[in-house]
């Protein structure tokens, strides 16, 4: 009898020991795999873009870019450091005035609890919206390229990923001269045609200083107030001035297309470099005609560049638009930047998130689609402006060839070589 009792006791002890170890082990494993910080199921990102009014198309493109990124991120498991929390896009119409844009931002921040925001395309809307973001200390990203958004502004929560308009001018001019030299063509006389909206004014202002500094001549300087109604005086002035190249900027599609059509009508065939998101869109081909667009170049904040073709295929099959442009690309990158920052921060605390974005250095992943990103990574300076290496962010120059806009400069990002316009 005693033998069996002894064995039962041993077995009982063993069983109890196993249970204790198992429970202890289970508890230990459970705590080890708990997500850090509060349990978050979804992370809201706000998008304030024009969905009505003259820039509704731009808003739509931005929305597409954001949706594309969010789909990818959620399909891959969301934000891992937040326990697989999914990203949720909260989109709202910025409306047609700066007031409505700012109201939209304030609403998203205070009622939707967005963790970060993006928007609002038009630089005057962006200024109003970023003021709200700064006030509420919500990290905000924008693709607007007016200098005034971060340069000398002293804001902490605003991050501007595109090149400054004034820097775009530098690169555009350099590129033009470099290409011309390669072709054996002399550029001495330059025409400037632009509207008086902020982004374009900064660009032209910089050119007005750069061009004489390089020993070149501005032969005509046309500034117009939108809407243009008719481009005849501008085109006549350009024709009469006999320039070797034209720098050209318009924020509204009708103005933009009127000028190009008028150039064609008056037989003005010159190298044209433009600024303004319209100039790279598929709508141009539909509106102005592929033959008219051939050879025209545009400076833009971002574009589909070498190595990212698969992304474009995905975009094209989802949205039916023939190619990817700045508004889509930049917003796509913005979402990915926020995602990387969230992963790193492991929290949805907006101040921590802001600090993370400020110090971040993203060296791989979709966020690096922005110009210079693959080589130098994505980083921001203390003003919130994106820097590439030790230089401020630079733009992409795009050229229309065969009815589509291709990245042509900087050369390492080019998807096609530049063709000097006939």
């Amino acid at each position: 009898m005693r033998g069996r009792d002894a064995i039962s006791k041993t077995i009982a002890t063993l069983i109890i020991a196993v249970i204790i170890v198992a429970v202890a082990g289970g508890i230990a494993v459970y705590y080890a795999t708990l997500p850090t910080g509060p349990v978050v199921k979804e992370v809201k990102i706000g998008l304030v873009v024009p969905l009505t009014g003259p820039w509704a198309l731009q808003g739509m493109y931005k929305k597409q870019g954001a949706e594309l990124a969010i789909e990818e991120i959620n399909a891959a498991g969301g934000i891992k450091s937040l326990g697989g929390a999914k990203l949720v896009l909260v989109v709202t119409d910025a409306g047609t005035t700066a007031e409505s844009a700012a109201s939209a931002a304030e609403r998203l921040i205070t009622t939707e609890g967005i963790v970060a925001g993006i928007g609002a395309w038009l630089s005057s809307f962006t200024l109003a919206v970023t003021e709200v973001a700064e006030r509420y200390k919500v990290p905000w990203l924008t693709l607007s390229f007016a200098d005034s958004i971060t340069k000398g502004r002293g804001f902490k929560y605003v991050f501007q990923t595109s090149a400054y308009s004034s820097d775009m001018a530098v690169l555009a001019l350099d590129m033009l001269l470099e290409l011309a030299k390669a072709q054996g063509v002399t550029i001495k006389r330059i025409a400037l045609v632009g509207d008086n909206t902020a982004a374009i004014v900064f660009f032209m202002k910089a050119l007005r200083e750069l061009i004489p500094a390089k020993g070149l001549e501005i032969v005509t300087d046309q500034v117009f107030t939108p809407p243009l109604a008719d481009a005849t005086p501008i085109a006549l002035a350009v024709k009469a001035a006999k320039p070797h190249a034209v720098f050209y900027g318009a924020t509204n599609f009708p103005d933009s297309s009127l000028i190009l059509r008028k150039f064609k009508e008056l037989d003005i065939t010159l190298p044209i470099i433009g600024i303004g998101a319209w100039l790279t869109t598929p709508e141009y081909v539909a509106g102005v005609g592929a033959d008219l667009m051939e050879g025209i170049m545009a400076v833009t904040g971002s574009h589909l560049t070498k190595g990212w073709e698969r992304l474009e295929e995905k975009y094209v099959s989802k949205y039916g638009k023939p190619f990817m442009i700045q508004d889509v690309v930049s917003t796509y990158a913005h979402i990915w930047i926020i995602k990387e920052a969230l992963e790193k921060a492991g929290t949805i605390d907006r101040t921590v998130l802001r600090d993370t974005i400020s110090k971040i250095h993203i060296t791989s992943g979709p966020a690096t689609i922005l110009p210079g990103g693959s080589k130098y990574g994505i980083r921001f300076n203390e003003e919130g402006h994106r820097i590439v290496g030790d230089r401020p962010a630079y733009p992409v120059i795009v050229q229309w060839q065969g009815g589509k806009s291709w990245a042509v400069y900087p050369l390492e990002d080019a998807t096609r070589p530049v063709k000097w316009p006939k």
């Binding site: 739509m60 005057s124 200024l127 502004r153 902020a198 500034v223």
Partner: protein
Amino acid sequence: MKISFAETIAKDRFLILVIILLIIPYVISHPWFLRIATLTFMWAVLALSWNILGGFAGQISFGHAAFFGLGAYTSTLLFLYYNISPWVGLFVGAGVATLASLFIGYLTFRLRGHYFALSMLAFPLILLLIFSYHPLEWYELRFPFLGDAPLYFQFASRHSYYQISLMLLAITVYVVRMLDRSRIALYWRAIKENEDAAGSLGVNTFKYKMIALMISAFIAGALGTFYVQYVLTLDPHIAFGLHVSVNAVVMPIVGGLGTIWGPILGAALLVPLGEITTALWGGSLPGLHMIIYGIIVMIVIAMIPEGLYPRIRKVVSFR
């Protein structure tokens, strides 16, 4: 006499309303609510100022943005270039707007009806173009973010802006009420009824129209500064855009032209309506929220063409 009795009741009611409005933020302090309320107060002030010229004196003008914008730009430029506090700039701006109104009125008062209304449209448009002239570099002004700097009209909390704009509204209402009870109002009414008859009875119609315009411009100019200090960006469209002039006309009409509560009710309907339709539908099918907004506006005015306040009064007095 019946009029002043109704007004006496209204007086008590407005005071009560102000007190209630002052208390509300302590109960409901949601920032978005405060924002809508603040904007409503501000647009109500603009509507009230327009109503002096349009509702009392019967001169419909589509150019009110001129005064609003001049006030906004004056104080902003004084601040950005000379570091003068917007509190001071407020009065300078209102003064500039008033001077401009003197000039504008002198030119346009010989016109009547639609001609007057639309000629007034030219002025904010001219100003918009001038201020967009790129060498001036006024096409996009931004303010330094001062956080909490009451002396420079910047406040850390939304609540402060709410209180200030409410005070501005209250002051405007009392000024308007005072005007409404004055003898000038009688002349305005006569001019509104039939300008020619009033003139032939010996009323100096030009003088009284000018007085209405100048007061109207002064208030609008002052409001311009308040508004810009709230939104903290300024460009020619914010200052002189068509939507400003349209709001100035539309709100009093919806609320009841020529009454004191009318412009306030008009603003109280339209501003939140815009915000709420955007909030509910602004992210879905593009344009949907605007369609709903437009339809509601059309239905309201078709059903209540005399204006909200007159209808409310009618309904209440039948009780």
